[in-house]
Symmetry: D2
């Protein structure tokens, strides 16, 4: 399932922003999708992409997109699949417009994530939520969303535990990378030799999104999972990779070894379907006590695997451990592309 | 009470190490104490301090100590008060020897902290624990210890809450500075663009030391406080200042405003005695949501005040908030010097 | 000469910017000057300073200025002395307006630096250039400028050599701190783990400003010094402190020891007048081979002294050495304040 | 020429050190060479490599070497080709021993670099120097050396200019990465927020090695090139990639365009022979004024290409420009491997 006769034309909304750039980097050699159109704000529209963008990724700007003339974010594109890296200040309205006009919108923005009929999708965790699309009133169009960057790694790590032992509570303290804040929002003078113990709106997302993602569809209705999460979110001076200290209380008794096995044996639909961006194993459990660390594990399986380590018993909860995932790959562009791959494999695209 | 006719002669054990250097920097202009002797390992003994030390603090090596000839760590000093910044691999035995020979040992090392009859002292929190000294079998000598650097800020912040509302549980996730690891133990290649989610032995200290510090002396015996603490300790790329995400469960109902007032009104014996190194207010509560941050608050009141902020209700505990303190000042050398000042004010020195 | 009966009222133009903030920090406890008015852009005008500014210095916002209501940069102030930290896009015109209305303008902006009748002043180097003011057509007003931040340290180090041995050529390669770029212009993603080998317009300033500063006034006309300078300017990941690798060719023969003595013996009018911000010694020569370093020397004599080290013979020039100075103190606000102090001491203010 | 029927067995001396680790990483999938043996100090000998090494590269320790039992650095190996990443304190003697016993030694250490009969080899620059081997008295063995990490990039950039226009003088100021200092020699507290203007012994290497590399073999004797170089070497807070500000004086007149063309047209024997590690183009000239930067160009052509930019006329020399190269790839392990590839292609191995 690794190549198509003819690639599917896709567009990127918000193409000059940080998530947009990451979409472009990751789609440049994609076996199924081909970037045909790029959309951005009025300021960029009409320019060649290479002139419109302040490309800040350390990879080279892919030559295939350099000369694409940037368009406005209006639903008059030839590509029927659009990846949205739009800023949340404008994403809600624009994505709705595209869906109404028949486009398949795969969005990394927060705006539609909690809509009743919009899947908040992690292909390894809740692929069945894609059926929610049927309830959307967008005709042939639809909206699928990717969770917040600090939620994705967390929920992938929680999923096998939720399935096997049931979750009663989760407590999370994050140390998040700078790239998650977009470019150039974090000034060096602010984060160098510093920790910023506030990321606006982030804690609320971490406390709510997992309950939707881990929810169950009953009679075509999504019922949220019902347990409590507390989150404390911090920005640290790391380029890429969110590190999260997690504590959990389980419904059923389990040993450390039970948890490790649950993680190590976890495999899901993207692995079964052999989707191009799917990691070979979604979760890497590391025995070495000082791991995972952003420097060493963020790029595990091209940034699509989640690393877990330091599992130990907890005096207040049942267990504590550390989760690490690449925030702009698994946690943003890569995660959204995997959603699109799942939709293609299931005939939705 | 700010000056003495004649200063008290003191010595520093482990004078070339990172804590030793900080002791020397902070004692250089002390109104009560004067460094007369410096002791270090055999490698340094016999050399002038300026030749023995690889001084790495950004302040200048105080000229008053440059030419002091370093001695071995043996209890044949003229100074009867010794500050110990010894490495824990040797501190236990050496400190005992000094105490037995009649020296007053104020130690920053972990070795004697949990001894039954040794005060684990934070002058604002448990000054009454000094009476434990009487039970020591060291004749005219004694040992007093300073808690771990990530414990001091935490316990100062917890103290007024424990007093007013009672503590039922505390959960802590730390982001600790590099200076706490000594010099030159953390290589730039290890911590640059990285988080290290392990500090050996640290979590155990955070989970146990506060219970001794907050304990009560009954019939001359110290009874530990009885509540549960869980700690997760991380090293981040910050030079100085430990940031801690704290969650607490209280015994008695309280509002956010109650907690803020408890912190703001907190004052204790060092303030009353007007000790030279005592902060004017031990706890600074900050209303600005994005604070405290190491860059801005670590040096509050010369590094001796603890900063608290981001108080909010917690879905799993009662409250969560952020605590920041300077790990090598309040959390090490400065904290130990304040202990010595208290002992002087109470006639023990 | 360290205090005045009544302080002189001063204003800061561009008060919310990075140089403006530094002016405010350094003037907060000044023995001669007192900030009475703060001016900034229309966006800030009308607000209390504490609400208008995004204060990013690690010191606390001085309470004396918190409630000052920000005014527009228009010459209707009560304070007759204004410090300008205006952006060069607007500084030229505004500063001229103030001078014409009788204000004494001491500017850190580049706009008027190369004007024939405007002193480009380093009080230790060319105090006699203040006489140029007489030729200005601003009535009772005047403009005095402070050189570029990477020029000041360089020229102070060159001055005693120029005087004693004559300069034939100077070659400079800089490693400049981030704070010089203002706030928040340098994004962490741009400078972290990076060097930027371009600072727009900087090399031109380094190649020309020293020739004016080291010039001689003959018959009331300033004649530029006549030798060649080549500069290469780089931004590195340092918060404060510009490091410069300098090579020089001299007109007259000299030994290493001659140069060191020239630096060590250098003292000038600000030292003689005992101006409040004058360093005790303008130049510190360091014998330790690995110095100067920004971390250790930038704050020498409160950031007002220039550190020089690593003097050695050069295969292409005569000598090479390293110069370090604090770019926002000696190289900007502090330097400008010292200019004002000199003007006060000489009765110009 | 990209694969061999049977790979050539090689060993790495100093396998646990920083250069040794890089050799192992880069040889892991090499089409011609296969690591069969690893040698290190007595401390490591006898252990499996995975237990002996503190692997600090961000890539994963290659599984092919994990279980290799580390040997002492003694010339009793089966592999007849050895790559030496030994520390210079021991490299000289050990490498001689290996050569005498018939081993082909390709060394990254400085010890034998300036030996008369030892090629100081950059395959694109002086491949003909390999004939010096014939003059060595090591029987079937030989020693070939790789230049200093800050020399390689510089000399590759100078080579086409030397050939076309002749060099009369070169002036270099470097900003060198931390990885060049080995692991864990640079403590974070030393380099964070700092510049260290001294790298012991480095300036001497930069001032002498290029003259040997650019020298000419006449009557089987190597005559050094004869021009003057001055170097100033600095350590900056960058993980990988040395940035160098270069000024040159040419023997023959040339325009900026002439230089750019000389760089862009430069190609040499490794490109002709299509050696596996040879960059497609040895030199990348960048038109964008703010480049090259370590973050963006260090990995150009897998770290084997040298990036040049910011060419401009110079007031003191003829031209100035910026050179960037990856210090541990092109400047160390990768450069040495390319030497070995050239030797294989020429039948020496």
């Amino acid at each position: 399932m690794k190549s198509l006769k003819e690639k599917i034309a896709v567009a990127v909304l918000g193409a000059t922003g940080s998530v947009g750039q990451k979409f472009i980097e990751m789609l440049a050699d994609h076996p199924w999708f081909e970037i045909r159109e790029l959309c951005a704000s009025d300021k960029s529209a009409g320019k060649e992409y290479q002139d419109a963008v302040d490309w800040f990724l350390s990879s080279t700007l892919p030559s295939s997109v350099k000369k694409i003339v940037v368009k406005r974010c209006e639903p008059n594109l030839k590509s029927k699949v659009v990846f949205s890296g739009l800023d949340s200040s404008v994403a809600g309205k624009i994505e709705t417009e595209f869906a109404k006009e028949g486009y398949t919108v795969i969005s990394n923005s927060k705006n539609h994530r909690m809509d009743n009929d919009v899947p908040l999708l992690i292909p390894e965790v809740n692929p069945d939520h894609l059926t929610l699309i049927k309830k959307q009133n967008y005709g042939s169009g639809c909206i699928v969303t990717n969770p917040n960057c600090s939620v994705i790694g967390l929920v992938i790590a929680l999923k096998p535990l939720a399935d096997k032992f049931g979750l009663e509570a989760a407590n999370v303290s994050t140390m998040q990378a700078i790239s998650g804040a977009g470019h150039p929002r974090v000034a060096n003078l602010d984060i160098e030799d510093n920790v910023i113990p506030l990321i606006k709106g982030e804690e609320d997302k971490v406390e709510t999104e997992p309950l939707k993602i881990l929810g169950t569809i009953k009679n075509e209705i999504l019922e949220f999972e019902n347990f409590k999460i507390s989150a404390q979110c911090n920005r640290v001076n790391v380029s890429d990779g969110h590190t999260e200290c997690v504590q959990i209380k389980l419904k059923r008794k389990a040993t450390k070894q039970d948890l490790i096995e649950a993680w190590q044996n976890f495999s899901s639909l993207p692995q079964e379907l052999n989707l191009p961006s799917a990691p070979y194993k979604p979760i890497h459990y590391l025995n070495e006590e000082k791991l995972p660390q952003p420097k060493y594990q963020r790029s595990a399986d091209k940034g699509m695997a989640v690393s877990v380590g330091r599992l130990r018993e907890d005096p207040l909860f049942d267990f504590k451990f550390v989760v690490l995932s690449h925030n702009t790959v698994r946690g943003a562009a890569g995660g959204a592309i995997l959603c699109a791959e799942l939709m293609k494999a299931q005939g939705i695209i």
